[in-house]
Every structure is written in C-alpha cells, then in structure tokens.
C-alpha cells in the first residue's frame, strides 16, 4: 500500500471533491492509488503538497482567491527551483474544469491533461495513466504556456521559507529589489526573499511595477513622491551629483532613482 500512487484533490466545492473521491474509489482495481488529502483553496493545497508529497494533483481550474492555473505555476515552480540539497519531485497535474472554452483551447496544445466536469471514470483513468509519464520539464513549460494562453497573471508570489510555501499577494508588495542571488520582496509588514529574475518580473507585472533603478521595481501605487538628495561625502551612487529618490507610502523607505530611469519615473506623481 505504501508504494501506491498518492493523489491530492483540490477543488473549492465540497460536492465536487466527494464526487471525485467516489469515481477514484471505483478505479482502485484498475489503478491502485491512495487519496492522501483534499484541499479547498491554494494555501491548503500547497501545505498538503508539502506534507503529503502527492504524485498526482487533481486541480480545479475555477477557484476563488487563486485560479487552478496560477496555483499550478506555484506548485511547479516550487519543485523546479528547489536547490540540490532538498530535491522535491514535481507533482503531476491534471486540471479539472466545468466549462471554459478558452481554457479548453489552451489545454489542447500542452503536455498537461484536463478533465471536464462531470468527470467520467474511464476518462479519469486515461488521464491518471498518461500523466505519470509526463516529464517534469515538459509539464513546467506546458503550464507556463497555459498561463500565457489564458492570460493568467500571477496575483501572488510564492516564497519558500523553512520548508513552507507562503503566498504573498502582489497588491501588498511595495517594492522588489535585486540583491546578489535573490530578490527582496518588501511588503508593508516585512521582507521575503525569492529566486526569480527582476527582468522577467518587470515584464510580467508591467502594469503594477515601474523600474526606478537597475536593481529595483517599485509598485506604482506606493509612490508617495520624490525627494532631491544633495551631493554629500557618503553619496557615491551618483558620482557625487545630486539625485532623486522615491518616497514610499506606508513604509517610509526611500529608494534612489537612477538618472536613466528619472525621465520615465518623474511623470508618475503629479
């Protein structure tokens, strides 16, 4: 029993989860497996994946708070960026959707499978057998493609801290600052570290953040104003010249604006 394939069911609707359990139980003779848990939302799902390490995740596409497609990105990213010290297998994902023409079109192209609700036992069996053979890198690429095709913008950044995944809502992020290998994510309350590229974050969230410096993106809504800083002995950043810095709402931090970005940034506050 211990080597049976483990499955996690993620759906915000209780009847849909119990229906999925029933159909899965019918399939035990053909497809030995064990349902290791159910989750009704994204944080629950990420916690269960962390503790149960399921092989397959059956993931509802339409969920409140975070869509299944965004959640899939966090799940696969979590496995992909694990450093060598703690390799985590990437769960294979099968999407489940009631009816969504656009998503269904997008599913047709990638290496991810999807099921339509109400789910049929035979169709579920096919998907379970097929998904095991999917190569993690292909699944990762397919989910990224799916996110693009469905215009799914992440609304959260996933942060890995001491074996836990924390979802940081993007609307709480004040600025993102590149530091050596990591990016500091500053919210009103605290800081987090993530491993992503500032350039790709800038591209993905162009409407939310503006680049003020080679190493920093600032939330447009968090800019309270600008201050001119006179040259001083400890100001070597601008080669001794005066420069501007952004004053941030809520947290009171100030970040320097590079001369190159000033022309772009200065128009943002009346």
């Amino acid at each position: 029993m211990s080597d049976a394939i483990t499955i996690l069911i993620v759906d915000d609707e209780a009847p849909a989860r119990s229906r999925m359990r029933e159909v899965l139980s019918d399939l035990v003779p053909q497809f030995p497996h064990r349902v290791v848990g159910e989750a009704a939302n994204a944080p629950e799902a990420l916690a269960q994946i962390e503790s149960q390490q399921p092989v397959i995740v059956l993931l509802d596409v339409q969920m409140p708070g975070m869509t299944g497609i965004e959640l899939a990105r966090h799940i696969t990213a979590r496995a992909a960026d694990a450093d060598g010290s703690n390799p985590r297998p990437m769960p294979r994902i099968v999407f489940v959707t009631a009816h969504d023409e656009h998503a269904v079109e997008a599913f047709e192209v990638g290496a991810v499978d999807y099921l339509l609700k109400p789910v049929r036992a035979q169709r579920l069996l096919d998907a379970l057998q097929r998904v095991q053979k999917v190569i993690p890198a292909e699944q990762l690429a397919a989910i990224e493609g799916l996110a693009r095709a469905t215009h799914t913008q992440r609304k959260h950044l996933s942060v890995h801290e001491r074996g836990r995944v924390i979802l940081v809502p993007l609307d709480q992020v004040v600025y993102l600052k590149a530091e050596l290998k990591y990016i500091t994510v500053r919210t009103r309350e605290r800081e987090f570290l993530i491993e992503e590229s500032l350039t790709s974050l800038e591209e993905e969230f162009e409407d939310r953040f503006v680049r003020i410096h080679r190493n920093a993106l600032v939330a447009r809504g968090s800019i309270a104003g600008f201050e001119r800083v006179a040259p001083s002995a400890d100001n070597t950043d601008g080669g001794g010249d005066p420069y501007w810095q952004v004053v941030l709402r809520d947290i009171g931090d100030k970040l320097p604006v590079s001369r190159r970005q000033w022309s772009v940034v200065k128009g943002l506050v009346g």
Partner: protein, 383 residues
C-alpha cells in the same frame, strides 16, 4: 471585465414601441412584426411627453419660418398652440382608451385608428376653438371648414408617421439577427451552471439520493423557465420561486460560503414582470459576490411595494478582485435593455458599490394581472 460597474439607467431616447406591459397575451412576439400590435402604448408617460414635445417643436418651427419679427413669431405660435395642444392631448387620450380594444384586430383597423383618431380629434378641437373665438383676432367670422379639414389631414399624417416610427424602433430593438438570438439563447441555457449542477447531482447520487432527486426536480423546473419566451409576463411570486430554486442548487455547490436573506413582507406577489428579470441579477450576485470569495458572503434580497411601484434591492459582497471567470457581463445590460423596452422611462435600474458592498436597485410600475387570473400558479411547499 466586471459587470458590476457603477451605472445608472434612465432611458431617455426610447419608447416601448409595440410592447404593452399590461397584456401578457399580446406580448408573445415583439420581434415578429406581423403579430405585434401596431399602436404604441399611448398611455405611457414617456410617449405622451415625446409626442407633445415633437408637436410643439413643429409648431415653433412653423411659427419662426413665416414670421416677420420675434413678436410676430410669438403671435403665430399662440395661434397654432390654441388648437394644437388640445388636439394632441385629445388624440393621445382617445388612442390610450381605444388602443387595447383595437390591438388584436385586423391590421387595417389598427391603421385606421392610428390615422383616424388624430384627424377626428383635431377637427373637433379646431371647431371648438373656433366656436369660443380663440382662433386668433378676427377669425371668428372666417369659415372654419377648410382650416379644420387641413389640420385634420395633417394630424392623420402625423399619426401615420408616428406609428411607422415606433414600428421601425421596435424592429431595431428586437434581437432579430441570428447571432444575437444565439447569444441570448446561450445566456439563458448557461452551460457553466448546467455542468456544475449536474456535477452536484452526481455527487449526491450515492450518499444522499433524495437530495439528488430534489435537485434534479429544481433543475428541470429552472430549465423549463430558462427556455420559455422571456417576453412573457409572470407574477412576482413565480419569479421569486425561480430564484429560490436557483439558489437551492447553488447552495449545495457553494455550501456555507453562500448565505441568503429574504425580506418579502410587503412584496406584491401578483405584480407582473417579464420572466427571468430577477433570476439573472441574483445569478450575477452569486458569480461576482460569492464565487470569487473564499469566505462566506451574504446576498440580501428585498422586494417591496412603494406606492404604485415595485422596488427590488439585491445587495452582495464586493468582489475582492476580478471575477473568477468572464462571460456574465451581459446580465446587467440585458436586464436594462429589457426594462427599457417594456417600461421605457417608468423603470429604473441602479447598480453601484456602496459601503464595501454591491447594491442593485430596480424599480418598475406595479401592474397586476387584469384578466386570466391563473396563467401559471403552482406553488410547491416542499421546495
């Protein structure tokens, strides 16, 4: 795109063409010109105001064109107004009265009414005005027959133009294009709702077969209503029952996340309204207010009578972010369009966020069923 954007409706440039809100039997086919009543609803305030304005604008134009001086123009207008206002008002009152009895008859009779009533009314008023000497200085001695006949002829022409205008307008507003028809049909069949509901029924099948049965019964009733002609008028009681059946199904799916409160104490259950006017608004509240939330949310529904009007209020939590899925944007604009067609300026739909919640209010005239008491009235207390 969120459907629940602040908006207000006060249709100003439209009149309810060939639609009569008070006669369900005649409402069947608005779009198929052949069976629609020819005469617009002359009892409707919007139409009365517009006809009066148009007649007076024509009078002012006529007065200005032939006038030698501003004072002359005023004099000319007063002379025209003396017989014009009375003629128009008498024509409208007469048309309002005879309209109902003429509507089901032959087309030729309807045309004759549209042309003949204004002509006769104008002739009568002209003669009356002449008799009491309001016709202008020195006019009392002039013969009355010719001017009255010419005015009557002009009134007949105006009647013809008016009916033709409302016919064209009714045609423009009806979804005659096949694409629009398809969209309307899809909006009514609601594939997402159907598949989700079937999935709910399947989940109940093994563990709670009785609930599965009840849910299928609700679903069958709902789809019967969805597939009915939405121009049909139904009593408010029936529409509320449809809303309850819809919410019962969503309750199973959403569980404790969906909370509903009803206050229907002063609801006039016999008030007539177009079928499926309220249900899509409640469905909208579920989609935008409850589905995108992880925690519980309340939909508060209040229906009351305020003087001679029915007032509906639906309050739901404001969506935290974009709705879980697009595709329902049409609900509000759809209801708005139907209200405008049916009630013109007498209906009002307001929808805007207030105090962190989304509040929709809808008001329309309280009209009761006059004839055919029991069109469709089956209340099942088990539901």
């Amino acid at each position: 795109m969120n459907d629940q954007t602040p908006a207000q409706m006060r249709p100003a440039g439209a009149a309810p063409g060939a639609v009569d809100a008070a006669s369900p039997a005649r409402l069947k086919r608005v779009s198929d010109g052949a069976q629609a009543p020819l005469l617009p609803d002359f009892c409707n305030i919007g139409i009365v105001v517009r006809v009066l304005l148009a007649a007076n604008a024509a009078a002012v134009a006529h007065a200005l064109v032939g006038a030698a001086s501003p004072g002359d123009a005023v004099g000319r207008f007063v002379t025209i107004a003396a017989w014009l206002e009375g003629s128009v008002l008498l024509s409208l009152a007469a048309l309002c009265t005879v309209r109902r009895s003429v509507a089901g008859r032959a087309r030729s009779l309807q045309w004759a009414t549209a042309v003949g009533v204004p002509a006769v009314a104008t002739a009568l008023v002209s003669w009356g005005v002449h008799r009491i000497g309001l016709d202008g200085p020195g006019a009392a001695s002039a013969p009355v027959a010719w001017p009255a006949a010419l005015r009557a002829l002009a009134a007949a022409g105006a009647g013809w133009v008016l009916v033709e205008y409302f016919r064209l307008r009714a045609r423009a507003f009806s979804p005659s294009l096949s694409e629009a028809r398809l969209q309307a049909l899809q909006a009514r069949i609601r594939p997402h709702f159907l598949f989700n509901s079937l999935n709910t029924v399947l989940s109940l099948m093994r563990s709670r077969p009785r609930e599965a049965e009840a849910t299928l019964e609700n679903l069958a009733d709902l789809f019967r209503v969805f597939m009915r002609d939405t121009r049909e008028l139904v009593p408010l009681d029936d529409e509320i029952e449809t809303c309850r059946q819809y919410l019962a199904i969503e309750q199973l799916r959403l569980g404790p996340r969906l909370e509903v409160s009803w206050s229907l104490d002063t609801m006039p259950g016999d008030a007539l309204l177009p079928s499926l006017l309220l249900q899509p608004l409640i469905e909208n509240a579920v989609h935008h207010g409850i589905e995108p939330r992880t925690e519980a949310g309340l939909i508060a529904i209040r229906v009351e009578r305020v003087a001679e009007r029915v007032r509906v209020e639906i309050v739901n939590p404001l969506a935290q972010d974009a709705p879980a899925r697009p595709g329902n944007q049409m609900a509000l604009s759809n209801v708005r369009e139907r209200l405008m067609l049916l009630y013109d300026m007498e209906a009002e739909l307001n929808a805007a966020p207030a105090d962190g919640r989304f509040r929709l209010t809808l008001e329309f005239p309280y009209r009761k069923e006059r004839r055919r008491r029991d069109v469709r009235r089956h209340h099942n207390p088990d539901r």
